[in-house]
Symmetry: D2
Subunit: 194 residues, 4 copies
């Protein structure tokens, strides 16, 4: 019985590189990996692009009203399903992916953020945390060298702690920086423009 994996992390840890590597590993062995991306992430359009400069075509863009079951039934048989920016899935789509893995016996590996810039889950990532058979963290470091666990948002270069949950990096003067909890407290909670 295949599993749904949630490989979660903070911003800029290398999730997309990891996804592209996993797709490569499958395809090098002659197996097909299907790459999904929620359409709400407009960065890269129909490709996933790693900060290391490597990219890969997205096979299926997923809109909020889409049924995963309908989308996947229109595809040829695959050996695994990979999802980039999985935090932007709806909870219903996460549930469909969970049961797809179980019923079709095809592993689903979802890469995504655990929480937003205010430490709260996205609807899709929270459902992934609740349901995925395996939770696997992709780690990166804070500017202080400790493990980063929270995401700080900068608007025009200044940390902020108010705003809409979704704002794509490199658009609208938005940047993100992954931080340890102590630096998040100091730089965002105690100093941010709000």
């Amino acid at each position: 019985m295949a599993k749904l994996y949630f490989r979660y992390s903070v911003m800029n840890s290398g999730k997309t590189t990891a996804l592209i590597q996993t797709a490569y590993n499958y395809e090098e062995r002659g197996m097909k990996a299907l790459v999904l991306k929620p359409a709400v992430d407009t960065k890269g359009e129909d490709a996933v692009i790693s900060r290391l400069g490597i990219e890969r075509k997205v096979d299926v863009l997923v809109h909020p009203d889409d049924s995963i079951d309908v989308l996947l039934s229109a595809q040829p048989k695959v050996s695994c399903v990979l999802v980039d920016e999985a935090q932007f899935l709806t909870p219903e789509q996460v549930e469909e992916l969970f049961w797809f893995a179980v019923d079709a016996d095809v592993p689903v590996i979802a890469y995504g953020l655990r929480t937003d810039f205010q430490t709260h889950g996205f609807p899709g990532s929270t459902r992934l945390l609740e349901l995925a058979h395996e939770l696997q963290e992709l780690r990166t470091v804070c500017r202080c060298g400790k493990k980063a666990v929270l995401n700080g948002r900068k608007l025009n270069g200044v940390f902020v702690n108010e705003g809409s949950q979704i704002a794509i990096e490199d658009q609208d003067n938005i940047e993100y920086e992954a931080l340890c909890a102590a630096d998040y407290k100091k730089l965002v909670l105690q100093s941010a423009n709000s």
Copy 2:
């Protein structure tokens, strides 16, 4: 900088045994472990009791309106804080435990369920999944031998999929059985009395 750990699992995997072992390990080395339990879990009253027959006194019962900060500031300095049945904490209490670990540099290890009998998170467990520095699974097996990931509830010996989120085992003819996804589908979703 100490961390908040969420050691999550399904029902009846040995969470309380693991908590008692961890407390023992600290105290064998001359360090104090403080054990907290949400008061909503009325099983065992002011003790945590493992199915293996071992038990340990609870140091602090936590009521839904309690402030963790107030409760902990009334305690002598400890080397770690252990929480049993952590899914019954409120989200605010989870946030207090996260910042307590960071600010006081004392590790907090929360043991609890990931989801209820309908596959949904408890408010406390969902906040733990979002915030904890480390998510660590305690595993157990389904009746079929596969890893269990979901919790089935039985009322008078029959699986049900409706009812209130919280119902304590061994009370009101309630039992739980941890299941793999395929058996949950077969035994609960397709067959349960609802």
Copy 3:
């Protein structure tokens, strides 16, 4: 296809408690768990005994010349095989357990030390580290509160760094204390009687 798991740790972390809990979890679900122990560990004779005071009968004592295949073929069909003090297996016995898991499709969970009091592997634990499908650490703390990774040996209450690899605790005035690397350096390498 079932797997060989190596749940490794330092001394006194709760390995035997974890083994007994796992056996309990299987048997509560009506499945048989078979418990093996190398005969070289004379502590507890034909039982495994946890420092928490719980114990369980050993089903099969394994001598260095024994063939695991022969021993297991004399047993009724089981749902899992659990090994306590697995560092005392021979490398050949570890290989037999690996292929037994794969060929018989029965999970084998081996609990044992990673290294001896001089930071070197036991022949059995090194082979487990090389071969096991999954390496899973059971953690405990050093006297300083950090994670313990090495084992210090005391003879008559004084740390030593010479002696035979195998010496059972509570016999011959031997004790062990799990330590972090910095405390091992300070207490054992720089101060020990040698």
Copy 4:
């Protein structure tokens, strides 16, 4: 206190990609990552090259007689040390890296194979398995879709199970294929030219 991490895997799982991503993550935050490679791996000369096509300059080539302490003391202060093909380190070099992480408080992340094409450890990888503070697996799949745990060697396209422990891929008509245990038994142990 920093740690020595051993991120181990089978052949062709993406270890070098992961190393380059980690170096990038550090350097994006203004911290220096130092990349070491044993000189015995002649592939790529003074660069590490991922199968995805990305590469990075090696800072220090390590020869079997080199002292890691001497090599590192000649370098400016760094935020982390990354080692590619770490299975080719000597056991003494692994011990030096362990104590460097502890004493200098600089994390050391070693990427390497766990075992050779005959299921045995390399001297360096076995010492890493025994000593590293954290063992973290980088996973990939067998041709059958299951997790790969062993490495098969092909000579002129045919699986073999005899030969020298070290033979670099793409040289001398050597290739490797990561396999699950069942396929390793079938393709290598039962069928190989020996």
